[in-house]
C-alpha cells in the first residue's frame, strides 16, 4: 500500500468518525430528553394549568404554556403568511427575472433570516415601549411574526421560483393579468406553502428569546390579545432554573413535550416537501 | 476484421442507468496507436461508452455495469483493480476545457506531483516539454504562474491536453473535445491528434462526421446503445454495410 492510499484511508476514517459524532449527537440529545422527560411526565402536565404551590413542586401542569405557545405560533404564522405571500408573488410575478430590486430584496431576506431572535426580541420591546403596549399575546405574536417572515419568504420563494416559465407564459397567453397569473402560480405552490408554514411553526414554537421580552409569563390561559401569556420554551427555562428538584423534573417533561411537538412538525414538513417534489411539473 | 493488437478490449458490456439500458452488449477492440472515433446521434451512448474506459461513469448514481473492459489485458472492472493507476494511463479531454483552479504551471505539474515527482528541475522540464508538445509554450511561457482560467478557451483545451500528457498516459480519450472551440482552435487540436497517434492510442467521441473522417483511422457507429458497425474510416464512410449506417451518413438519422 502506498502513501497516497494510506492518506486517503486515514481521512476517510476521520470522515466516518465526524459523521458518527454529528449524527450521534442528535441521538444523544433525543435520548437524554426522552429518558429524563418520560420519567417526569404525567397527564396533569398537559391537561392542567399551574395550581397553588406549583413552583415549589405542588400540583398542576403547563397547559397554560402549551396553549400560549400554540396561540403565538398559529397567530404569527397566519399574520406572517398574509405578509409574505404577497412578497413572494411580487418577487416572482411582478418584478422581472434577474431584476436588481428582486435580488436586493432576496439578499435582504437572507440577512434578516440570520438576525438572531434576541435582536428581534429587543426590537419588539422598543416598539412596545414606543406604542405604549404592555407585554401581551399581541406583542408576542407581532415579534415572532417578524422573526418568521424571512423563513416564510425564503422557503416559498424557493418553491415558486422553480415553477417552469411555461406555466406563467400559458396563463399570460390566455390573456390573464399578472394578478390572475399570480393566483395560478399560488395554486401550483400550495404544498410548498404548507411546508414553509410548518417550518415557521417549528421555529416559532421553539423560540424563547423573542417572547421573553414581549409575551410575558402568566399561569392563566390568555383570553384576549392584550393579556400576557406563558410559552413552552420559557416554561422549560424558568422551571429548570428552580432549585427544587420536583420543578426541575417538570422542566424535563416540558422539554420532552416541546421536542415531540417539534419533531412531529419537522416530519410533517418533510412529508409535504417530498410529496410536492413528486408532483413537480 | 481488425487484426491489430487491441489496446482496449470491451467484452459484452452492458450499462444501465436507473432502469434505462444505455449500452447493450457492446464488444469492441480498440487498436493500439491508432485514432478510433465513436460516431452516432446524440444520446446514443457514445459518451457513456467512453466514460466506462476510465471508470468515471461509476461515480454517477444508480449506474450498473456488467461485462468486461480490458486495458492491456487487465480487467478494469475486476474486483481488486486499482482505479487510479488505470486512470493515469488515460488522458481525458472533455467537451469544455476545465482547467484546475490553479496556475498554468501547476495545472501541468499537478499530475506528476500527485504521482510523486517533487524535484523542481524535473517538474520545470516536464512543464516545458508538454507545453511545447501542445504548441502552447510560446504563448504562455511569460505567464506560467498566472491562473489558467485567464487563457482563451482554445488555449485552455490545449492546456488540458498537456495536463493529461504530463502523466505519460498511453491512451487519450476525447469527449467531443472541440465542440466548444472556434474553427482555428479546432484545427490546432486536430493537428495535435494526428501528431500524437504515433505514441498514443486515441479514442474520440464526435458528432461531426467530417472531423471523424479527418482524424481517425477507425470509426465505430453507435446507435441506440449498440455498435452497428465498426471498421476502417474510409471503408465505413464510403461503403457502409448496414442500412442504419448509410442512413446516418446521408443525414437521415440525427
Amino acid at each position: 500500500m502506498n502513501k497516497r492510499k494510506i492518506e486517503e484511508t486515514f481521512f476517510k476514517g476521520l470522515m466516518h468518525a465526524a459523521t458518527i459524532v454529528i449524527v450521534g449527537s442528535l441521538f444523544l440529545i433525543l435520548w437524554t430528553v426522552v429518558s429524563k422527560g418520560f420519567h417526569a411526565f404525567n397527564w396533569d402536565m398537559v391537561s392542567k394549568v399551574p395550581e397553588g404551590g406549583f413552583y415549589i413542586g405542588k400540583g398542576g401542569g403547563i397547559l397554560n404554556a402549551i396553549i400560549g405557545s400554540v396561540y403565538i405560533t398559529v397567530g404569527s404564522a397566519l399574520l406572517g403568511l398574509v405578509i409574505s405571500i404577497p412578497v413572494v408573488l411580487y418577487l416572482n410575478v411582478y418584478s422581472k427575472k434577474g431584476s436588481r430590486f428582486a435580488s436586493a430584496t432576496r439578499l435582504a431576506f437572507d440577512v434578516l433570516f440570520g438576525i438572531p431572535s434576541i435582536v428581534y426580541g429587543a426590537f419588539g420591546f422598543t416598539i412596545m415601549v414606543f406604542f405604549g403596549l404592555k407585554t401581551s399575546l399581541l406583542a408576542g405574536i407581532i415579534t415572532v411574526t417578524l422573526l418568521i417572515i424571512p423563513i416564510l419568504v425564503r422557503a416559498m420563494d424557493e418553491v415558486v421560483r422553480v415553477i417552469p416559465f411555461e406555466l406563467s407564459d400559458a396563463a399570460y397567453s390566455l390573456g390573464a393579468t399578472r394578478w390572475e397569473t399570480a393566483k395560478v402560480l399560488l395554486r401550483q405552490s400550495v404544498p410548498g406553502i404548507i411546508t414553509a408554514l410548518l417550518l415557521s411553526f417549528g421555529r416559532a414554537i421553539g423560540d424563547a428569546a423573542c417572547v421573553l421580552f414581549t409575551a410575558g409569563y402568566t399561569d392563566n390561559i390568555p383570553t384576549s390579545l392584550h393579556q400576557p401569556t406563558a410559552t413552552l420554551p420559557l416554561a422549560i427555562f424558568f422551571q429548570l432554573s428552580s432549585p427544587i428538584p420536583e420543578v426541575q423534573e417538570r422542566a424535563y417533561a416540558a422539554a420532552l413535550i416541546l421536542t415531540v411537538i417539534v419533531l412531529i412538525i419537522s416530519i410533517a414538513a418533510k412529508y409535504f416537501s417530498k410529496k410536492f417534489s413528486k408532483n413537480k411539473i | 476484421m481488425i487484426n491489430l493488437a487491441p489496446h482496449i478490449s470491451v467484452k459484452n458490456l452492458n450499462v444501465y442507468i436507473g432502469d434505462a439500458h444505455i449500452l447493450k452488449n457492446i464488444s469492441i477492440d480498440i487498436p493500439d496507436k491508432k485514432v478510433t472515433s465513436f460516431i452516432g446521434p446524440s444520446g446514443c451512448g457514445k459518451t457513456t461508452l467512453l466514460k466506462t474506459f476510465n471508470r468515471l461513469l461509476d461515480r454517477q448514481n444508480d449506474v450498473r455495469i456488467e461485462g468486461q473492459v480490458l486495458v492491456d489485458g487487465e480487467d478494469l472492472y475486476g474486483k481488486d483493480t486499482e482505479v487510479t493507476h488505470i486512470r493515469k494511463k488515460m488522458g481525458l479531454l472533455s467537451q469544455r476545457p476545465f482547467p484546475l483552479p490553479m496556475s498554468i504551471y501547476d495545472n501541468i505539474a499537478y499530475g506528476p506531483r500527485i504521482h510523486g515527482i517533487k524535484n523542481k528541475k524535473k517538474l520545470n522540464e516536464l512543464v516545458e516539454h508538454h507545453l511545447r508538445s501542445t504548441a502552447l509554450w510560446d504563448e504562455v511561457k511569460d505567464r506560467l504562474h498566472s491562473p489558467a482560467t485567464r487563457l482563451s478557451i482554445g488555449q485552455q483545451q490545449r492546456l488540458c491536453l498537456a495536463r493529461g500528457l504530463a502523466v505519460e498516459p498511453e491512451i487519450i480519450l476525447g469527449d467531443e473535445p472541440t465542440s466548444a472551440l472556434d474553427p482555428v482552435s479546432t484545427q490546432r487540436i486536430e493537428e495535435l491528434f494526428l501528431q500524437l497517434k504515433d505514441k498514443y492510442t486515441l479514442v474520440l467521441v464526435t458528432h461531426i462526421l467530417r472531423q471523424a473522417r479527418r482524424v481517425s483511422d477507425y470509426i465505430a457507429f453507435i446507435y441506440m446503445g449498440e455498435i452497428i458497425e465498426f471498421g476502417l474510416t474510409e471503408e465505413l464512410l464510403l461503403n457502409p454495410k448496414e442500412q442504419l449506417t448509410k442512413d446516418y451518413i446521408k443525414g437521415f438519422i440525427s
Partner: protein
C-alpha cells in the same frame, strides 16, 4: 378602464408596499435599537463601552468588554469544534457516501437544526455541564463548575453543525463535476482530488459558511445562557464561566427599566449584535450568491 386591469394595478401596488416595508425592517431595527442606545452613547464614550470591563449598572458603569470577550470565546470554541467535523461530514456526504446513506442522513441532520434552543440548553445542563465538571476539567484545572466557555462552545457547535453542513453541501454541489473528473482522469485519488481541487475551488464558499456560522453563534441566546455560567468577568480558560452579550440581554430584561440607563445599555448590546451579524451575513450571502451565479 377595464376593472381587471385596475385590480391588477392595485394588487401590484399593495404587494410592492408590503415587499418594500418588510425589507425596510432591516433599517427599522437599526433605527429602533440606535434610538434606544442614544442615552448611553451620550453618557459614556464608545471606546469605554467597548473596552472597559467595569460593569456596575447601579453606579452607571457600563463596560461591555467582559461580555464581548465571553461572546468571542464561546463563538471561537464552537467554530473550532464545529468546522472540522462539519467539513469532514460534508465531504463524506457529498463525495463518498452511497446515495442511500445520504438519503437517510440528510433528514437527520435537518432534524438537528429543528430542535429548539431551549432543548439544547436542557441537554447541555444535563449532560455537557456535569461531564465537563467531572471528567474533563479535573485534568486541567483545580475546579470548574462545568458551567463554562467549553460547555457553551460544545452546545453551540452542535447547533451550528446543520448550518455549516448544508451550506457546504451546496457549495460542493456547485463545483463542476468535470473539474473533479479532470483530476481523477490524471490518476489522482479521490482524496487528492478533494484536497487539491474541490476544497481549493470551494474556498470562498467555505469562508462564507464559516462567517455565517460565526454570526449564528454570536446571536444564540437561551442555549448558551443556560450552560455558560453567566459571571460578568473575562474568562481565563475554557473552564471558566463567561457571560456572552445575548445572555446579558436576556437575563436582565426584567430589571432594566428600574435602573437608570440600564435599558439603554442593553439595547446598545443588541445594537452591537445586530450590526456585527448584519455585516457578516450580508458579506457571506453576497459571496455565496456570486458563487452560485458563476456556476450557472
Amino acid at each position: 378602464m377595464n376593472i381587471r386591469i385596475v385590480k391588477d394595478k392595485a394588487v401590484k401596488n399593495i404587494f410592492l408596499l408590503l415587499t418594500v416595508s418588510s425589507v425596510l425592517l432591516v433599517v427599522l431595527i437599526f433605527i429602533g435599537l440606535y434610538y434606544k442606545s442614544v442615552p448611553i452613547l451620550h453618557s459614556t464614550s464608545l471606546s469605554h463601552l467597548l473596552f472597559s470591563s467595569e460593569w456596575k449598572p447601579s453606579k452607571a458603569q457600563f463596560g461591555f468588554a467582559a461580555f464581548i470577550a465571553g461572546t468571542l470565546w464561546v463563538t471561537l470554541i464552537a467554530i473550532v469544534i464545529a468546522l472540522p467535523l462539519s467539513l469532514l461530514c460534508a465531504i463524506y456526504l457529498s463525495q463518498y457516501a452511497p446515495r442511500r446513506l445520504t438519503r437517510f442522513l440528510n433528514p437527520l441532520i435537518d432534524l438537528l437544526s429543528g430542535i429548539p434552543p431551549v432543548v439544547y440548553g436542557v441537554w447541555g445542563v444535563l449532560v455537557v455541564v456535569p461531564f465537563i465538571q467531572e471528567h474533563v476539567a479535573p485534568h486541567f484545572v483545580e475546579y470548574s463548575s462545568g458551567y463554562s466557555v467549553l460547555a457553551g462552545g460544545v452546545v453551540l457547535a452542535i447547533m451550528i453543525f446543520p448550518l455549516i453542513i448544508n451550506i457546504l453541501g451546496e457549495v460542493f454541489a456547485n463545483v463542476p463535476k468535470e473539474l473533479s473528473e479532470a483530476s481523477l482522469s490524471i490518476g489522482a485519488t479521490q482524496w487528492q482530488t478533494i484536497k487539491y481541487v474541490l476544497l481549493k475551488k470551494s474556498r470562498p464558499g467555505i469562508v462564507a459558511a464559516v462567517v455565517l456560522a460565526i454570526s449564528r453563534a454570536f446571536g444564540e441566546t437561551i442555549a448558551v445562557l443556560m450552560v455558560c455560567g453567566n459571571i460578568p468577568e473575562s474568562p481565563h480558560s475554557v473552564f471558566d464561566s463567561c457571560y456572552p452579550l445575548p445572555a446579558l440581554i436576556a437575563n436582565n430584561y426584567g430589571e432594566m427599566m428600574s435602573v437608570p440607563l440600564y435599558d439603554s445599555a442593553l439595547m446598545f448590546a443588541a445594537l452591537i449584535l445586530f450590526v456585527i451579524i448584519f455585516l457578516f451575513n450580508a458579506g457571506s450571502r453576497i459571496i455565496l450568491n456570486r458563487l452560485e451565479r458563476r456556476m450557472n
